[in-house]
Symmetry: C2
Subunit: 280 residues, 2 copies
C-alpha cells in the first residue's frame, strides 16, 4: 500500500502547483496526475457536471492504484469532496479545508479575503468552512474569472494584467483584509502581481502548499509515508495523464515543474469512462 | 463523540502554548488539560519513566472522556507517541511530526536547526523524522537545558538570558541554518530573544502552532469538528488539572492564556494512577 502513488486530479494544469509542493515536501512519494484539459475550465460549469467529471477521474486513478487522492482543484473539491471521501476507502483530501484553516490561523484582524473561480465562489465553500470554525471572522469573496486564462496564456507580466488584478482585488483591499486565500490552483502563478497590489502586509495563502501539509500529516497518521530509504531502494515515479493534448500539457508541466524530460500520456473520454489512449 | 473535549497532556505548563493555539484556531472546541507539574521537568528523566508518566496521564483523560489526545510535550511525544497511538481508538497527535514537516516545508537552504530538552535531543526524534522524509536536509541539534527554568522563573528579559541564548545557539547560527524548530513547548516564550540572536532571516518554527494545524486537519478528516453553531448551543468548556500546586498552575495559566478567571483542579498520584483530589 505504502508503495502506491498519491493520485492528483484537476480540471487541467492548475493542480500542478499542488503537485509541485508535493515534489518539494514529499520527495519520496510517487505521484500520478490526471488533468481534464479537454473539458477545462470547470469554473463556469454546473455543480452536477463537475461532480460527474471528478468521479470519472477518480475512477481512472483508482484503477491505476493509488494510496491517497488529492482533488487538486478548488472547483472540483467544492463540488465533490464530501461524497468522494465518503465513498472511497483511501484518504481523500481537497484544497479548501486546508486553505480555510490556514486563513483562520493567519489573520490577526479577523478579515479574510477569498478569490477563486465563479463556481468556487458561488459554492461559498471557503466562507462556510471558515464560519463553521470561527463565526467571528469576516469573509470577503470575489470571483476572478479572467485569472485562469491570463495564467494559461502566460500573460502574467503584461501591463494590462495589473489593471485586471487591481479591478478584481480593489474591494478586498478596501475592506482591509489582512489575509487573502488564493482559492484556485492557477493563482499562485499570479502571486507577485497580487502581492504587489495588495501590499506587503497582506498574507497570501497558497491552498496548494497547505494541502500538501495536510497530505503529509495524513500519510504520517495512517503510516503510509515512504521513507528516504524506501526511495533509495525504489525511486519514486511521476506519471502524467491528460484528456487534452499531451504535447501542450507537457510544455506547461515541464515549465511549471522545472522538469524538462517529463512525458505525458493522453486519455480519451468515452461515455462516463476515461481510458488511456493506446498509442500516440 | 463530537461534543467531547480534546485532551492535552504535558509535563507541566509548557503545553499551555499549544492549548493557546487551540483556543485561537479552534474556538468551538472544548479542552481538558493535565500538567504533571509534580514530576516536571521530564527532559532529564529516562525514557521508560517518561513513557510510564505519559500513560498515567493518558489513562486519566481517557476516563474523563476525550475525542482526541494531544501529547503537548516534545519530550513525552518523543518517548511515547507511537505506542499510545497504536493502543488508543481515538486520534493521538504529538508535537514532533508537525514541527518536522513545517521545517521541511520552510527551509530553502536545506539546513535546519532543532533545539529542545536533553531527552528530546538525545531521542534524535526530529532529525530521524526529518531524514526519513528528506535525506538531503542537514539537521543541527542542540539541547538547551537552561531554557525551561528561565521560562518557568520568568527570567526571559534578564540581561544574562541573552548570554545563555547566545551560548546555546551560536553553533546553529554558525552552521547557517535558515530554519530553527522550537522543539520544546516552553520555548515560544523565548521567541523574541531567540529571533534577536539568530537574526530576522531565520524562520522560527513553533511546533505548537503546527500541531494544532494537524489537530484541526484530523478533526475535519474524521468529521469530529464542532461548528460555531454547536458552540452557540453548548459553549465550549476548558478544564485544567495539575499534579502539582493548583494555585501556582493557575497563576501561569492565567498569565499565559490571558484568562484571569481560570480555575485549576489538583490531582494526586497513587501508585500508577492519577486521581482527582476530592476537595481543595
Amino acid at each position: 500500500m505504502k508503495e502506491l502513488p498519491i493520485g492528483f486530479i484537476d480540471s487541467g494544469f492548475g493542480g500542478l502547483t499542488v503537485l509541485k509542493q508535493s515534489l518539494k515536501q514529499l520527495p519520496n512519494e510517487s505521484s500520478i496526475y490526471l488533468g481534464d484539459s479537454a473539458r477545462a475550465p470547470y469554473g463556469v460549469r454546473s455543480v452536477d457536471e463537475i461532480r460527474r467529471f471528478i468521479w470519472q477521474m477518480t475512477n481512472f486513478l483508482r484503477e491505476k492504484g493509488i494510496k491517497m487522492l488529492v482533488i487538486a482543484c478548488n472547483t472540483g473539491a467544492a463540488a465533490a469532496l464530501d461524497e468522494i471521501r465518503a465513498s472511497l476507502a483511501i484518504p481523500v483530501v481537497g484544497v479548501i479545508h486546508a486553505g480555510s484553516r490556514a486563513a483562520i490561523l493567519t489573520t490577526e484582524n479577523n478579515k479574510v479575503g477569498i478569490i477563486g473561480t465563479p463556481a468556487t465562489i458561488n459554492s461559498d465553500s471557503y466562507a462556510r468552512i471558515i464560519h463553521e470554525k470561527n463565526a467571528q471572522l469576516q469573509v470577503f469573496s470575489k470571483a476572478c474569472p479572467d485569472f485562469v486564462p491570463i495564467v494559461e496564456e502566460n500573460q502574467m507580466v503584461q501591463p494590462e494584467t495589473m489593471n485586471t488584478v487591481a479591478n478584481y482585488l480593489a474591494p478586498l483591499k478596501n475592506a482591509g483584509v489582512d489575509t487573502l486565500v488564493l482559492g484556485c490552483t492557477h493563482y499562485p502563478h499570479l502571486r507577485p502581481q497580487i502581492q504587489e497590489f495588495m501590499g506587503p502586509e497582506v498574507e497570501l495563502i497558497d491552498s496548494g502548499v497547505e494541502t500538501i501539509n495536510e497530505v503529509s500529516a495524513l500519510l504520517d497518521y495512517f503510516n503510509l509515508s515512504r521513507s528516504a530509504e524506501d526511495a533509495q531502494k525504489m525511486p519514486p515515479t511521476h506519471t502524467y495523464y491528460t484528456t487534452g493534448s499531451g504535447a501542450k500539457f507537457a510544455r506547461f508541466a515541464q515549465m511549471w515543474l522545472g522538469q524538462p524530460d517529463l512525458y505525458v500520456q493522453e486519455c480519451k473520454i468515452k461515455g462516463e469512462i476515461i481510458h488511456e489512449a493506446s498509442h500516440r
